[in-house]
Symmetry: C2
Subunit: 657 residues, 2 copies
């Protein structure tokens, strides 16, 4: 076993040496998140989220499930059959943390976890604590429903992360042995193998990452096999139907992402990785088509994906109910993972736009401000009964949040041959490996509360610094740029302030959505970028029934909502809002410090007109609606339900109608 | 075995001798449905629906499941574990038919079916073909999920129907033996019995009907035990939660019907039967409260119940999505069954109102015009992909439709000590047993197409004939009268025409919603009732998000919808309707003969304003919406999708906004 540190960079998706990546990744360890927003959250993840999740892995029997395989624990298997994956995701998260430097507690836990896994691995490389002992004979017997390769995928991702983070091969060796078993057993029938796929995608992107990490292309070949074998009804979908598993139509012919949201998005990650590695004809255009349709017809304004509780599925075009939105936190994360890969493949800022929007408005709501409670389901409207939980029986989301936050520094920047990209604006210090030297960048900003961003370049060198212009800056565009959106001006140059060393320069975005500043940088150079934090009111496509006559509010990258806690006694359904009268106010003491939106609103009584009746004959005469004055206070959607229970709404009645 | 005909009347719910029924039932055989609407449908049920369903019971293995228990068939159990209930419901339906007179085919099938059941019954009385042979040891091991008592209930209902219809005791004896086994085994722990309940209500109303049929009160006592034991978490609800099974709160404390819709409604039937038998304090007020809340907050305008695919459940207040409506056909039938019992308990027309509205708009859409295809799920808006099927893997709905249609004659009339009630207007001949003599009534009408109803009384005698005034007649009320609806005038006397032998009389409804005509009737007396078939536009409570800015259309008891088939090339989402411009037209050749609603409408283009974007910044400037003229044609909702596939909508954009 080779336990020495390699020189490999700890990046999440290692497209550094693939031929088809336009943008290369920056190491997770290259960036320190600072400040009250991300610095604090990053620390909370390390100090609270990860330790408390480990305790839950222990107390819910997830660790004992491994111990019983190795004979170190007597008792039944506990919980749901894919519980192993929760430990794997936790290990991935913790690995990204220890990559940054010593953390005695997490290092100890990581070693404990890896030891459990090592001891639970079979001689042939198989590992899944559910399918051991009394269920050993059932291995591979129900790939459709029982997630063996899904768990294998998370094991591989954890192992790759641990190897990249620490240089240690212990977990990587476990993963390689299991991956080799998969390669021996599954593949084309003509090779004497079993033609089968797993019901829950995940193994595809994991195998490709393992191929990147080891240089062994058999893993890429198996991932490609799984992708190509999908869509031919191999799974025999049963009561959910083939579409639930993305097994109804081959990827090349897919017209829209559908079925189980997390599966569909993880599949898309795997296919994008396949494109990044092989450049295989047809994949990227199809990925772009699917992404465009998702964004234009099947996505919540939170960036969340998944309209249906039934089958945890994406739903039909324009099917986007607010109160019954499913929008699993894992689906938001899956979308971010896909966006990150599409950004690498295309270099287009639209994918960073959606990554950022989903980070703030799709994923972050799934994590409490305290750092130890989570949403699995993220409705856009609620009566107050939906509260974050410290854990779930199906606990996929909590450790998924942890690994995303732990790796977030790796998503801030990117590079190509002659540019450094600033994808995300976050207070941070960065040391970016770039053409053989280290470029130091310091971002100072109160973003997302404030649009003023100062970037200090502390390294000499000639290169292009490319600043992303978020789609939300443009008052005529969406929060993510439609590919063919006629309303989107190109180049995008709205009311952005931009200077270098005090000298104003034109803020003209290129066709990829970045402002390129090419110069011979000198230590001490300072860029000042000011993004206009205008308040926006959004309207929704008229085919979305829930949003008719309603508006949603945003400021900068943050979507807003209203909560009963700020408007005691007001029925939120009776509130009518005029966005032009609202103003932003900083509230230091509230919800950990937030900008609220405040202004006058109407309160239009529903009662007594509607007492006791659900339907009534249409009256042509004007209703004498009672209107009272009210004060609207909106808070960032990510912060909802961190106070007492009460109704919440994102889409508000529009006073202008 | 006593196989001689008894004198017992073939009624569906035999409240004839219960102390707490205000209205007594009329026999299924007392009424012949005639004419193009109900006469034709009644015949279709006998000639097409029932024979084709028998063939499906055979071809899908449902009959073989019984044969394998008795050793007459070798092979595995086929299908889903509660498939026995489909044969039982079919036998109930066929029994109501043969009660009317000879039908060689159905009589033969009934005897075949009963023979199968007899041979499959265990020595101890147990019968459930799923839990026989290899699964015998699993009996009663999972009452929560596996429907043993649900199947028992349908067996009992079939047996009672068969006995009432034919006087034969063969099936009744089978049912009694099984019911006795239940009585021996289940009940209060203090009696040395097992305190348990079934996850799917049905056994409660069945046992009470068996008590009525046999006079044996132990069945009533067991039904009462099951009702009282519910709501205490006995089932340990698992992933669905206790509320799914109505096991989260005792009935007496229930604030709203919730959870699985069919279960909740069948439970309500059982509790109403318990009230009818015992008058136990508190039950009826709670039933009324639950019914009011259901109607005022959780019911589709079709009368359908069940907003969620997830858990087939009712959903929250005002959660009534149209395209994703679940509204199982069985739930509509369950609601009708409950309404029938509430009508008996209270004498209030509001229950007949909802029975009728749900019959036409909630249940009838589940049955194709041809009589051999069914909906399980009944959306109020569809893109064209949802088509009726000849059968389902879970086939509860098709035979439920068959038994409801077969017993429909029993719902038309009712009696009390000195009145005959006309609950439903249907072309028909009736011979009603009333205070020792037979009263003959002939209804002649084209209802529901026309509001003119002629009722000839062909018997001498003094009594009160009570004519229901449907709630939809009142232009200010709903299609069902809210209990405390301030908008409802009492007595209800809108523009109804009423005469006896040509002499106009005042059409004043009493507080129960019926116009009472008390006189010494003579053969040849003729009542002419004219209900104004006004076209109504309905608006929905503003808390129902899907229906904002929309209207639904009705005429008489029929809800309408629009289909692409009548408006080729029109995007139904772009259609804006002004109900005042519509007129009714009879179309003899269309959909078996229907009244359509026709008139001018606007077509307001959504594109190109919304190309490629799902959300966009609100523009304060007025949209230059392109408006084109279009012609609206609406058809009765029950007739939707009996032509080519295409989009359908019930709730239409209102041009007035």
């Amino acid at each position: 076993m080779n336990d020495t540190r390699t020189l490999r960079q700890p990046v999440v998706v290692d497209s550094a040496s693939t031929r088809y990546a336009r943008i290369k990744p920056v190491a997770v360890t290259a960036v320190d998140l600072l400040g009250d927003f991300w610095g604090r959250r990053f620390a909370t993840n390390i100090e609270k989220t990860l330790p408390s999740q480990w305790d839950l892995l222990e107390s819910t029997g997830r660790l004992n499930n491994f111990r019983r395989v190795s004979g170190d624990y007597e008792g039944p298997f506990e919980g749901i059959f894919f519980n192993d994956s929760d430990l794997y995701k936790w290990l991935e998260a913790a690995s990204w943390v220890v990559a940054r430097g010593p953390n005695a507690l997490l290092e100890k836990r990581i070693d404990e976890g890896i030891a459990l896994i090592e001891r639970a691995q079979d001689d042939d490389g198989y590992i899944d604590s559910y399918f051991s002992l009394e269920r050993k004979s059932e291995r591979w017997s129900n790939l459709r429903d029982l997630h063996e390769m899904y768990c294998a995928g998370h094991l591989i991702q954890a192992a790759v992360a641990h190897h990249r983070a620490t240089g240690k091969r212990r977990l990587l060796n476990v993963a390689i042995r299991f991956a080799n078993l998969l390669c021996d057993r599954f593949g084309p029938e003509t090779d004497g193998k079993i033609e089968a796929i797993d019901g829950h995608e995940e193994i595809e992107m994991a195998l490709i990452e393992l191929a990147r990490e080891t240089g062994n292309d058999q893993y890429l070949a198996l991932a490609r096999f799984f992708i190509k074998a999908r869509g031919h009804g191999l799974l025999a979908g049963g009561r959910f139907g083939d579409a639930y598993f993305q097994d109804d139509v081959p990827f090349e012919q897919m017209e829209a992402l559908a079925g189980h949201a997390v599966r569909a998005l993880y599949m898309s990650c795997g296919v994008t990785d396949l494109h990044l590695e092989t450049g295989e004809a047809g994949l990227l255009p199809r990925l772009e088509t699917l992404w465009d349709r998702l964004v234009a017809q099947r996505m919540y304004i939170t960036g969340g994906v998944g309209a249906r509780h039934d089958g945890e599925s994406i739903g039909a075009d324009f099917e986007l109910p607010n109160a019954q939105a499913y929008t699993e936190t894992c689906a938001a994360i899956g979308s971010m993972m896909w966006c990150h890969r599409m950004l690498a493949a295309t270099g287009d800022a639209r994918y960073a736009d959606l990554f950022e929007w989903t980070l703030y408005n799709g994923m972050l709501p799934g994590w409490s401000l305290d750092g130890d409670a989570y949403y699995y389901v993220n409705p856009l409207e609620n009566d107050g009964g939906h509260r974050r939980q410290p854990w779930y029986y199906c606990a996929c989301c909590p450790p998924n949040v942890a690994r995303t936050i732990a790796s977030l520094p790796g998503y801030v920047y990117g590079t190509d041959a002659d540019s450094i990209y600033v994808h995300l604006y976050m207070e941070s210090d960065a040391r970016i490996d770039f053409n053989g030297r280290t470029v130091e960048l310091r971002q100072r900003t109160r973003y997302p509360w404030d649009g003023a961003i100062e970037i200090a370049v502390d390294t000499q060198g000639e290169f292009s610094l490319k600043l992303r212009v978020p789609a939300w800056v443009d008052g005529a565009a969406g929060f993510v740029t439609a590919r063919d959106g006629a309303a989107v001006p190109t180049p995008r140059n709205p009311s952005i302030g931009l200077s270098v060393n005090g000298q104003t320069i034109d803020a003209i975005a290129n066709e990829h959505g970045y402002i390129a500043i090419q110069r011979l940088w000198q230590p001490g150079d300072v860029i000042r970028l000011t993004l206009p934090m205008a308040l926006r009111a959004w309207q929704s496509h008229p085919k979305v029934p829930d949003n008719r006559g309603r508006i949603a509010l945003s400021r900068g990258p943050l979507l807003y909502c209203v909560e009963r806690a700020d408007m005691p006694g007001v029925d939120l359904d009776e509130l009518y809002v005029d966005p032009q009268s609202l103003e932003a106010q900083w509230r230091e003491a509230q919800l950990g410090g937030v900008v609220v939106l405040k202004g006058p609103a109407d309160k239009r009584a529903i009662e007594p007109r509607w007492t006791g009746a659900l339907y009534r004959p249409l009256t042509q005469a004007a209703d004498t609606t009672q209107r009272d004055d009210a004060t609207l206070i909106a808070i960032p959607y990510f912060a909802w339900h961190n106070r007492e229970s009460g109704p919440m709404k994102v889409w508000l009645n529009y006073r202008g109608e």
